[in-house]
């Protein structure tokens, strides 16, 4: 029994200390670049269509800002103006705490990725993967909670009373006269790609001999 556990630990120790080959390091470098590029693209887009808004109103979520579609980001004002009828708080970047720390965390992840490229050890990749996944899932959860809060903390004095609701995170939902389409955008896809690159980096060095 003891022997079995220590054998497992030894194997694990050996695995974690496997060196990363050139391919893996290149993949990690690509992952770091991909994360960097993703910051320039929206993560998410909410598209709202109603009979009066047949072209739709767009809301783009970046790691550090919310941006409305249309001229001068006018769609955000329009959405807020419409939301005031149901007593929803105006959406503004200042209220999204996430948008303060997310760019910082992305920087951290990029640094961790570059660290793996330089140190070149499997344990770095595992650390990176664990932190990154946690960060990703936490962000999505946090985003969902924001949506929940906006849809549930409605001003009781508002002219129009509607049942509290949570806007759709991914998918399509009818909210009064609006049809909401909420889907990830280029930024999110690039981040997914970076995760895949990190997994592949580990995969390509799985058979390397331990140092």
């Amino acid at each position: 029994m003891n022997k079995g556990v220590s054998g497992l630990l030894r194997r694990e120790f050996r695995f974690l200390h496997k060196p990363l080959n050139v391919w893996s390091r290149l993949l990690l470098l690509a992952a770091a670049v991909t994360i960097g590029i993703s910051l320039f693209f929206p993560l998410w887009k909410m598209h709202l269509v109603a009979p009066q808004y047949s072209d739709g109103l767009d809301l783009y979520i970046f790691p550090y800002k919310i941006q409305g579609g249309g001229l001068n980001g006018q769609h955000l004002n329009e959405i807020n103006n419409l939301n005031h009828y149901i007593g929803m708080k105006p959406l503004q970047a200042a209220d999204f705490l996430e948008m303060r720390w997310m760019p910082f965390v992305f920087g951290l992840i990029i640094l961790m990725t570059l660290r793996s490229v330089v140190f070149g050890e499997m344990s770095n990749v595992v650390d990176l993967f664990a932190v990154y996944t946690y960060f990703g899932l936490f962000s999505i959860g946090s985003f969902w909670y924001r949506l929940y809060q906006y849809g549930h903390n409605l001003d009781p004095q508002a002219p129009v009373h509607i049942k509290p609701f949570t806007p759709m995170l991914i998918g399509v939902k009818q909210i009064a006269n609006f049809r909401e389409y909420s889907f990830p955008q280029a930024g999110a896809y690039l981040l997914c790609l970076s995760v895949l690159l990190i997994i592949l980096a580990g995969w390509f060095s799985r058979k390397e001999r331990s140092a």
Binding site: N72, E78, N81, H84, M88
Partner: protein, 640 residues
């Protein structure tokens, strides 16, 4: 008189010939279906062309779509229009001045290189001698110039030069000049004068000012047009009343077999003024053509002509005969030759202006039928003339003509389509440019005479859409128009991109308020100023306190940036209705004379809670206002 009678007889035969073989369009089911499809613009689809037609004595401009012929908007110009709040706010009130109507006749789109450039639309006011500029960025009137000095009856305009340098105008009426001088109309020939005016247009802003004027004998100048290509720098007008009669013009101005039309070298006029050859009258440099030769010439043309239209090549100038059954084609090249040779009618000068020999400059007379008024062109060598008496549009061939055609001019007449009824103006898309769009022609008929369901004795005019893309014209649609379209302009929709909202950062009004904190009511002596913000579905503030005797100024900013999110501000029992488009600030000013509480409300339906968008103007008896009474209060409740 004899030749005219013979011509009339010929025309009558031709006309009868046409009518007997011409069938009403749309008789068969297949034809009806084809016509319906040709003008059908399905829900959600858009027209291909704008039709800007003058609203005549309504004082406005109407915008319709082609091919649907549907009226889309009215652009108020010379008359108040509560629908858009025009004539109620300080700015538009100031533009209108003391007048509450105008008589819009001939719209002209701005041009660059003899093509529409999609910047402005100019319209004239026949009644009060004005010209207005509509900006096609927002389809609104931005300037009204006038009354133009030394000019009475601004009918013979607005004719725009090939690069929008000038709007050229000629007077329909003549009076003793300068205005205000009185003379007995019996001394008409001696004491009265007409005028051609060059209204200078700023090439950047479109701002107009009176440039110069040319003094003319007291003929009644009618329609005109400007040259292009070889006739660049020239302009032409027809006239009636070469007789210079001052009473019963119906008879006394119809005595001569020919009337004189004007051939004006406007470039030479501009140059003469620059060289100091003009004398000032009422602040305007006036050129006396007797003293400055080379600027004005006359040509005698078919009896009481009406339209005078230069073709797209700039070579041919066509005058409608009105009281003779032909259109007259003048050859610009021959006009130039006659002027160069000084080939004038001996002893025929009128007030020192030389008259060109008709036979020297005419290319031919086309027997189009009875009552030819205006001519338009498709750019493919065809002309289209409206026939008032025949109630028709006639298509005919422009020169050059073959010898056979010259021998028998009836051969140049290609087609005729019946219109309903008594066509005045007609417009072919882009006809007054060097490159007409062709394709569509709209006949603007003076009488609808029961074509529509019975709406009582006050009847609209009728407009008819004619497909001119084929060899034969095809009448495809009909619509009714409020009084009263004269001329029109057709512009391709794809050539302009009007703004749908006024962007916030372009609002330079110093009294605009965009946030609640900036809005409010302030008092300074008896001046009360309210700065309101309008947003769905409230005003901020929604209460204004003032007292009897106060001068109240209200600035309302519509802070919306969404298209068609328009707010109004109607003040009960104070004759105030402002309408603010998204991003626009408007101001009105009134003296408060009666105490009471006067609700104000949004007049332009905006939202589900539009009805709730209201507030109060509280006008206290003097001295009774609460201590803090001059400040308005913002609305409470809600989340914004």
């Amino acid at each position: 008189m004899k030749p005219t009678i013979i011509l009339n007889a010929v025309a009558l035969v031709i006309t009868l010939g046409f009518t007997s073989c011409g069938k009403q369009t749309g008789t068969s089911q297949a034809e009806r279906s084809a016509n319906a499809v040709a003008s059908y613009v399905a829900p959600g689809e858009k027209d291909e062309y704008y039709l800007f037609y003058s609203g005549g004595h309504s004082g406005q401009v109407f915008v319709a779509g082609i091919p649907s012929l549907r009226h889309i908007v009215t652009i108020p110009v010379f008359a108040p229009y509560p629908g858009t709040g025009y004539g109620f706010d300080d700015e538009s009130k100031k533009m209108l001045g003391d007048f509450t109507w105008g008589d819009v006749h001939h719209p002209a789109l701005s041009q660059t290189n003899s093509k529409y450039d999609g910047r402005w639309l100019f319209v004239n006011d026949n009644a009060n001698n004005r010209i207005a500029r509509i900006d096609l960025r927002d389809f609104k009137t931005h300037q009204i110039l006038g009354p133009i000095p030394n000019s009475i009856g601004n009918h013979g305009s607005s004719f725009i030069t090939e690069n929008s340098e000038y709007i050229l105008c000629a007077t329909r009426f003549s009076v003793p000049l300068p205005k205000g001088r009185v003379a007995d109309p019996k001394d008409y020939e001696k004491e009265f004068s007409g005028m051609v005016s060059g209204i200078k247009v700023d090439p950047q802003t479109g701002e107009m000012k009176v440039g110069w004027q040319i003094l003319t004998p007291p003929f009644d100048w009618d329609l005109g047009s400007t040259g292009k290509g070889p006739s660049s720098g020239w302009a032409f007008w027809t006239s009636y009343n070469t007789e210079m009669a001052h009473d019963t013009l119906e008879v006394n101005a119809s005595q001569k077999d020919r009337d004189l039309c004007a051939v004006v070298n406007w470039r030479a006029a501009e140059k003469a003024v620059a060289e100091g050859k003009a004398e000032m009258m009422d602040g305007v440099p006036i050129i006396d053509p007797a003293k400055v030769p080379g600027i004005l010439y006359f040509v005698a043309i078919g009896k009481s002509p009406h339209g005078m239209d230069v073709d797209p090549s700039g070579k041919w100038i066509v005058a409608g005969g009105k009281l003779q059954p032909t259109t007259t084609v003048l050859n610009f090249e021959k006009i130039q030759q006659a002027i160069a040779k000084k080939d004038f009618v001996h002893g025929g000068d009128v007030r020192g202006v030389p008259v060109l020999e008709y036979n020297d400059v005419v290319e031919g007379e086309v027997p189009v039928g009875l009552g030819p008024l205006h001519t338009q062109y498709d750019g493919k060598g065809n002309a289209y003339t409206s026939m008032f008496i025949d109630s028709a549009i006639v298509k005919w061939k422009l020169p050059p003509w073959t010898d056979e055609e010259k021998k028998d001019m009836t051969k140049t007449v290609l087609d005729k389509v019946q219109a309903h009824f008594s066509t005045g103006h007609l417009v072919v898309a882009g006809s007054d440019t060097a490159q007409p769009y062709g394709k569509w022609c709209v006949a603007m008929n003076k009488l609808s005479a029961g074509r529509h369901v019975n709406v009582g004795p006050s009847q609209p005019e009728s407009s008819q859409l004619i497909d001119i893309s084929g060899d034969k014209m095809k009448m495809v649609a009909e619509a009714y128009t409020e009084p009263e379209p004269h001329f029109a302009q057709i512009l391709k929709v794809s050539e302009i991109q009007p703004a749908e909202v006024y962007p916030k950062d372009e609002n330079k009004d110093p009294n605009a308020v965009w946030e609640k904190a900036q809005s409010g009511v302030t008092r300074n002596g008896n001046q009360v100023t309210a700065k309101l913000m309008a947003i769905r579905s409230r005003y901020n503030p929604d209460r204004i306190d003032a007292q009897v005797g106060d001068e109240l100024t209200v600035h309302v900013t519509n802070v919306e940036q969404t298209r068609d999110m328009i707010h109004g501000f109607g003040l009960i029992e104070h004759n105030v209705n402002m309408v603010m488009d998204p991003g626009e600030t408007k101001t009105f000013h009134i003296k408060l004379t009666k105490p009471g509480v006067f609700p104000f409300y949004c007049t332009n339906f905006c939202s589900a809670l539009h009805q709730e968008m209201q507030g109060y103007l509280v006008v206290w008896e003097p001295g009774k206002a609460p201590a803090t009474g001059a400040t308005g209060t913002g609305s409470s409740g809600g989340s914004q």
